[in-house]
Assembly symmetry: C2
DNA sequence: GCCACAGTTCGACTTTAGTTGAACCATCTA
DNA sequence: TAGATGGTTCAACTAAAGTCGAACTGTGGC
């Protein structure tokens, strides 16, 4: 199996619209994407609605975003560097990311 | 219960981003939204990937789109008139609908 | 080396979403 | 007003997604 240190990421050409929309259709995952808009963050810096969320659950959220191609998740010392795949998403789905992240939510 | 003839639709102000993204994250539902882009259609005119889909399943797809506020579903004689809520979506989530419907999909 | 740390993965479980036949409800037509 | 038509709703089931403790892995500090 893939070692935890080397996670797989879909190629830009393989980004799939339904998967991206699904990944962003969860309030927690959407919030993560919004936080990453200003630049990469280490995983521990990513604040969620529920600060007591178990790390396995948080890791799962990241997995869904990563497998959809919304974020990159790379080893960074003992931590994890999370990066929004802005360029890839813009190239494949022009205007989509901005429209989603700029949209009012929850209200 | 609400009679089949009078379905409820969320107000523009109540449109919720995660619900809209979720509704559009299914290939069949996305396809329906795309078909409605050119203008309203009667339900029977809406062609799906699987032409043998049971009507209860098709009705369910419409329900998800309607409850998310993506489409209107109104009585039209013995049929149903489906309308994309373009203006409401644009007002609440500017650029989102166009970005989604213009995006390449499945490839 | 050993240990603490930050995160991933696994496995079992709960929850939510999708699927479908059957019953039902309006509407149109004869 | 009876029957056919086009759809919704219900109920029961299947499938998929979320949750989270426990075990595991790579890294850094001592």
């Amino acid at each position: 199996m893939a070692t935890p240190a080397n996670l797989t990421h879909p190629d830009r050409a393989d980004l799939n619209l339904p998967s991206v929309l699904f990944a962003l259709s969860d309030p927690d995952r959407l919030e993560i994407a919004r936080q990453l808009r200003a630049g990469p963050l280490d995983m521990a810096e990513c604040a969620l609605s529920n600060p007591d969320m178990p790390k396995s659950t948080k890791s799962h959220l990241m997995k869904v975003l990563r497998e959809a191609g919304v974020i990159r998740n790379e080893a960074n010392g003992r931590s994890r560097r999370l990066t929004l795949r802005t360029d890839d998403l813009e190239a494949r789905f022009p205007g989509l990311l901005a429209a989603v992240l700029d949209a009012p939510s929850p209200d």
